[in-house]
Amino acid sequence: MAEHIVPSKTYFAIWATLMAMTLITTLVAFVDLGRFNTVVALAIATFKASLVVLFFMGAKYQSKLTRVTIICGIFFLGLLLAFSIVDYLTRLLPA
């Protein structure tokens, strides 16, 4: 099985998008969106990270197994964060 060689054009396009997103996220931080500042910043970061995973790391062209592995990692990281923060968020509630 030959592996997929990603064309250079794709790499340049991804790079340009990532750079643009970096600029946007920096500029947006100066606009007051209330709590949506955080949401936007994390959404952009997630978009950028997805691009890196899918194209630079080649997850888009990898086997299903690799993709399951990645999803598995994100899932368990989410569990760690969610189940920990649940404790802190509900401590403030009346018992």
């Binding site: 368990f76 569990l79 760690l80 189940f83 509900t90």
Partner: protein, 543 residues
């Protein structure tokens, strides 16, 4: 006995005699030799941990703390915990038995990453040496749980060194898990589909998932403790607005699943033993396999049940409690399936099977008493008492150690080409079973009456049960020394073992004993599901 000329029969070449000398062992990448190295190292650690346990039990014979000082006692139980958990239980079944038989069970020539496998052993040894060094120069007294702020600010012992030692052991565990996952995914023999895999493989796959996902979290939380301790830069110090309970969250995110690292491989062993010695297909293959995966996943969602009185919110306690009940179900399913496998089998009482019986019984007790601790209302009373101590010793000693010993006896012929002495083995199995129960059952009672754990001196009314426990521990000690003696004896004087003494259908038995360096003369092809004893009446007990 015909006197065949010795020179006429050239000794068969296998992994043990292919090369001699210390270099051939220390630089080996053969998974079987690495398994033997692991076996020797964890046996050493087991007996070191055992010495600590003995001293603890001796101290607790009298209510007044009169054998050792309280500081010494605190170090004893801490080091017993660290050595037994990180340097014996976690590597026990996976790194010894798993390393030895897992590649053979998938029909591979070796692990996927043989060099990383060797590195894993070196990591383990470095960690063990650092930890032992810390023990010799003065020990550590935080408890194996390293709770902050005691570990970061108040303890005056060698916390940093012990943490470094544990980190190395953690990396060794990660590398083992990495190898298991890659090997099971990528190196299965032709025809060996997932549904044809032996249950030992399923449980080790689940174990590897926990090792991969959990260990790094405990690594970072211990690193945070070390950083806070040494540079006073930290995030747990309550005087600086930190929350010590956060450490407990991070710690138990790994350390609860770590319990499943210890017991899942043991469950895999029991599945092999029960089928082999009842010569039957396992009852409910899919359910046992799925239960392993379910335990691995749900095991990550229950860590808060160690913290019901520690200051977490009521809602989060409810969440963790209900999750803990859910994770109990797959364990129950396994126990029922093993029992059902015996039904209409052809059961023989060889030593490994006795250990499997012991495992099922004691694990049942350990698991059911876990329900007490998951029950919010009861946990308030019994947590941090001897009830907890008894509960987890039923799982870890009654479960894991029983299965480990069963596995050692079961695969001993494959490892060394010699049979163990059956009579002695049965005597020691019985001794261990009795000694174990006498040691730990009284601790359930002590716990409910209210004796807190980690107490150096205790109220006089607890003495009777403590003396019982110590008496049991002395029986248990004899039970553990016996196999050490007769197994070493058998290496030279044991009966020569045939290739497949138990008539097992397991892939690892379909090669010579001991196996050649690359396991199989030619790559096996699998054409049927596991445990198809009905299709192989020719596979008979030889031993």
């Amino acid at each position: 006995m015909s006197a065949a000329p010795a020179a006429a029969v050239a000794p068969r070449e296998h992994y043990l005699n292919i090369d001699y000398g210390i270099r051939s062992w220390l630089l080996t990448t053969d998974h079987k030799r690495i398994a033997i190295l692991y076996m020797i190292s964890i046996t050493v650690m087991f007996f070191i941990g055992g010495i600590f346990a003995t001293l603890i039990r001796l101290e607790l014979m009298t209510p007044a703390g009169d054998l050792v000082t309280s500081d010494t006692y605190n170090k004893l139980f801490t080091m017993h915990g660290i050595v037994m958990v990180f340097f014996f239980l976690i590597p026990s079944v996976p790194a010894v038995i798993g390393n030895f038989v897992l590649p053979m069970m998938v029909g591979a020539r070796d692990m996927a990453f043989p060099k990383i496998n060797l590195l894993s052993w070196y990591m383990y040894v470095i960690g063990a040496v650092i930890t032992l060094y810390c023990i010799i120069i003065g020990g550590v007294d935080t408890g194996w749980t390293f709770y902050t702020p005691f570990s970061t600010t108040y303890s005056n012992t060698y916390v940093f060194g012990s943490i470094v030692g544990i980190l190395f052991a953690g990396f060794s565990s990660i590398f083992t898990g990495l190898n298991f996952i890659a090997t099971i995914h990528k190196l299965r023999a032709p025809g060996l589909t997932w549904r044809r895999m032996q249950l030992f493989l399923w449980s080790h796959y689940a174990t590897a998932v926990i090792m991969i996902l959990g260990t790094p979290v405990v690594a970072i939380s211990l690193i945070l403790v070390a950083v806070e301790r040494v540079w006073h830069v930290g995030i747990f110090n309550p005087a600086l607005g930190g929350d010590p309970v956060l450490f407990q969250h991070l710690f138990w995110f790994y350390s609860h699943p770590a319990v499943y690292i210890m017991v899942l491989p043991a469950m895999g062993v029991v599945s092999e033993l029960v089928t082999t010695f009842s010569r039957k297909r396992v009852f409910g293959y899919e359910f046992i396999a799925a239960a392993s995966i379910a335990i691995a996943v749900f095991g990550f969602l229950v860590w808060g049940h160690h913290m019901f009185v520690a200051g977490i919110s009521v809602y989060s306690a409810l969440l963790f409690s209900i999750m803990s009940y859910l994770v109990a179900i797959p364990s129950a399913i396994k126990v029922f399936n093993w029992t059902a496998t015996l039904y209409k089998g052809a059961i023989s009482y060889r030593t490994p099977m006795l250990y499997a019986f012991g495992f099922i019984g004691l694990f049942t007790i350990g698991g059911l008493t876990g329900l007490f601790l998951a029950a919010l209302g009861v946990d308030i009373h019994v947590t941090d008492t001897y009830f907890v101590v008894a509960h987890f010793h039923y799982i870890m000693v009654g479960g894991t150690v029983m299965a480990y010993l069963g596995a050692i006896h079961y695969w001993w012929p494959k490892m060394f080409g010699r049979m163990y002495p059956e009579g002695w083995a049965k005597i020691s199995a019985a001794t261990i079973f009795v000694g174990f129960n006498v040691t730990f059952f009284p601790q359930f009672l002590l716990g409910y009456v209210g004796m807190p754990r980690r107490y150096h001196a205790y109220a006089p009314e607890f003495q009777v049960l403590n003396v019982m426990s110590t008496a049991g521990a002395s029986i248990l000690a004899v039970g553990y020394l016996l196999p050490l003696i007769y197994l070493i004896w058998s290496l030279r004087y044991g009966e020569i073992a045939p290739a497949n003494p138990w008539g097992s259908t397991g892939l690892e038995w379909q090669t010579t004993s001991p196996p050649p360096t690359h396991n199989f003369e030619e790559t096996p092809v699998v054409s049927e599901e596991a445990y198809a004893y009905d299709k192989h009446p020719e596979m008979e007990f030889v031993a």
